[in-house]
């Protein structure tokens, strides 16, 4: 598959679906994409721009879905997640309306735009809503699959897309319905990652291997976590490390700890993510720089895991 952004993979597919299904309607908060330009011209009746008014976008989509439409609301991730949070809570979660929220800019992919544009706490607040599912894309193949899956849902969902073009790691025939994929196996430590950090986890796993450590990699791309499958995937690992470009409270690491705790699968867990104890990220110089400053570069993660394994070993003795 040619290199394509998650955004374009998703919207290209929605465009193809919408050509066949007049009930597919986009509610756009003044956003662009090549597929959306085609949509706007060729399927203008199915293209509703609400302006920069995300709350109204969710409200309109709710009304459309109540009238039998399949509605997608598109905005920058922190805005679709946070600005209209109560509309999502009341209209979508409490009424269980199958509206799909689509947010672009997962993590700090809007790097130098600053904290207003960073989606670093959206998972925490959205994953607690009843009925709503989160689909967090790892690559563009998955993003395209999410487009098909979103058209068949009977509940609300939030599709979280990275802004950058990331490498493709999945085969186009992959079944993403389970929400979890084991990408590498290893008994010393299992790195559980989500979104762009899955790519980092694979590289970290290779480096750990050079140090004699067998590290597995599990990609969690749906929330709530598929508990049975997750437990099955991590039960044999000596330790677990969670990895996310997202704040630690309430994010992937928290979700993993909840599953482990509820299933009485108690083993050492280290959460690696963004620490905002001193405030949100006002750092610039690109995504790589921000990742390094927050310990999310490959070298820092390898060191953190090595240190974790060593400490646990000392503790055990």
């Amino acid at each position: 598959m040619e290199k394509i952004s998650q955004r374009d993979a998703f919207w290209d597919r929605i465009y193809e679906i919408a050509k066949q299904d007049k009930d597919v309607v986009l509610v756009i908060a003044d956003m662009g994409a090549p597929a959306l330009d085609k949509f706007k011209i060729e399927l203008s009746a199915q293209y509703i721009d609400v302006g920069i008014a995300e709350q109204q976008g969710v409200a309109v989509a709710s009304g459309l879905v109540l009238s039998g439409k399949k509605a997608f609301v598109y905005a920058i991730a922190p805005f679709i997640a946070l600005r209209c949070y109560e509309h999502t809570r009341v209209n979508l979660a409490s009424m269980n309306l199958p509206v799909t929220l689509v947010g672009v800019g997962a993590g700090v992919s809007y790097d130098d735009s600053g904290p207003t544009h960073h989606a670093v706490d959206d998972l925490s607040v959205l994953r607690i809503l009843p009925n709503l599912k989160i689909y967090n894309a790892t690559d563009s193949v998955m993003a395209k699959a999410f487009a098909d899956m979103s058209c068949k849902l009977d509940h609300p969902n939030y599709v979280r897309l990275d802004r950058k073009v990331l490498p493709t790691i999945y085969d186009k025939n992959t079944d993403f319905s389970t929400g979890i994929t084991e990408l590498a196996s290893g008994s010393d430590v299992c790195i559980v990652a989500t979104g762009n950090m899955v790519h980092r986890a694979l590289h970290v796993s290779e480096d750990l291997k050079k140090n004699g450590i067998k590290a597995g990699v599990v990609d969690v791309y749906m929330f709530p976590i598929n508990e049975d499958l997750f437990v099955n995937k991590v039960k044999d690992a000596a330790q677990i490390v969670t990895l996310e470009e997202h704040t630690l409270p309430g994010g992937l690491g928290s979700a993993v700890c909840e599953v482990l705790c509820d299933n009485q699968l108690l083993k050492p867990v280290k959460r690696i993510g963004m620490n905002f104890k001193t405030g949100y990220c006002y750092k610039y110089g690109g995504r790589d720089n921000i990742q390094s400053l927050y310990g999310l570069d490959k070298k820092s993660i390898v060191q953190a895991i090595m240190s974790q394994l060593k400490e646990s070993y000392v503790c055990k003795k």
Binding site: A59, V60, S62, G63, V65, L66
Partner: protein, 278 residues
């Protein structure tokens, strides 16, 4: 004047009946926004009994039904007796209001037969109404969408996002009725944060706007009867000037009566006595 087989006097009697049922319901449950509901009674009676809304209680999901959106969610206690009265569910269910075995509470939930949405957080139902009205246009459906808004609900910015959207999309199948009782929770609107000139605000957003007496069936029906065939591409807002607590004089225009029914024996007696003579 006769409307849908009922004359104005009959509608007034229906409004009186509804007030009594509503008061009994809230007094028994010792909760409910009685005064917020009382200011909207004539509006809802006109909609459901005055030949304005098209609906079928035997088929609540009938696609051709007009949609009534209770954006002013705190007035939901008014909707229950009306929906029961027209046959959406047995009148005995009213007795379950806010009880463990009951089917509905202070604020509307979408599972109530005849209800379209969950409501209670202000500024949200109206936006949904714009989406439903747009869907009707997209589907070439001829039903109308009526949304009841509280005047203090118009403080919410989302109301104006929706108002702008409705005008831009020429949603002339949408009617907003603003219950203009001049009161929020703790204060009069013009003391708290000025809403006036409210009609001009709506007009400046591109709406056709008209102000009426919200307790006069003649005026309510006068503006709503021809709405389905009116010659305008614009949505319509009806600013219905009303009295919060209308029907029970000692509860009228008193912020302290927001969200609570009479509970003392004396107050309950006084309220019921007054309603008997309406």
């Amino acid at each position: 004047m006769t409307v849908n087989g009922k004359n104005i006097r009959e509608l007034q009697q229906k409004a009186s009946e509804i007030r009594k049922v509503l008061l009994d319901m809230c007094c028994e449950a010792r909760t409910g926004h009685v005064t917020s509901a009382f200011s909207s009674v004539e509006i809802l009676v006109a909609l459901y009994h005055g030949g304005i809304l098209r609906y079928d209680p035997k088929n609540p999901s009938w696609e051709g039904r007009d949609r009534f959106i209770m954006s002013k969610g705190q007035a939901s206690v008014l909707l229950y007796p009306i929906l029961a009265d027209v046959g959406y569910f047995p009148k005995e269910d009213i007795g379950g209001f806010c009880k463990a075995e009951g089917k509905f509470g202070v604020h509307l939930q979408h599972s109530v037969p005849g209800a379209e949405i969950t409501s209670g957080s202000l500024g949200m139902g109206f936006g949904i109404a714009t989406g439903i009205a747009l869907a009707a246009k997209l589907n070439s459906e001829l039903h109308m969408v009526y949304a009841l808004l509280g005047d203090a609900e118009c403080y919410e910015g989302s109301i104006w996002e929706a108002a702008m959207f409705a005008n831009h999309n020429k949603l002339n199948n949408l009617v907003a009725i603003v219950d203009r009782n001049y009161l929020g929770v703790t204060n009069f609107t013009e003391n708290m944060l000025q809403l006036e000139p409210l009609e001009e605000k709506w007009k400046s957003f591109g709406w056709n706007a008209v102000s009426i007496d919200g307790h006069s069936f003649e005026e309510i029906l006068g503006v709503l009867k021809g709405v389905r065939s009116r010659q305008s591409s614009r949505p319509l807002v009806v600013i219905a000037k009303s009295v919060k607590g209308k029907g029970v004089s000692f509860m009228c225009d008193k912020p302290l009566w927001h969200g609570v029914p009479p509970t003392s024996e004396e107050d309950v007696h006084s309220a019921k006595a007054e309603l008997q003579y309406l």
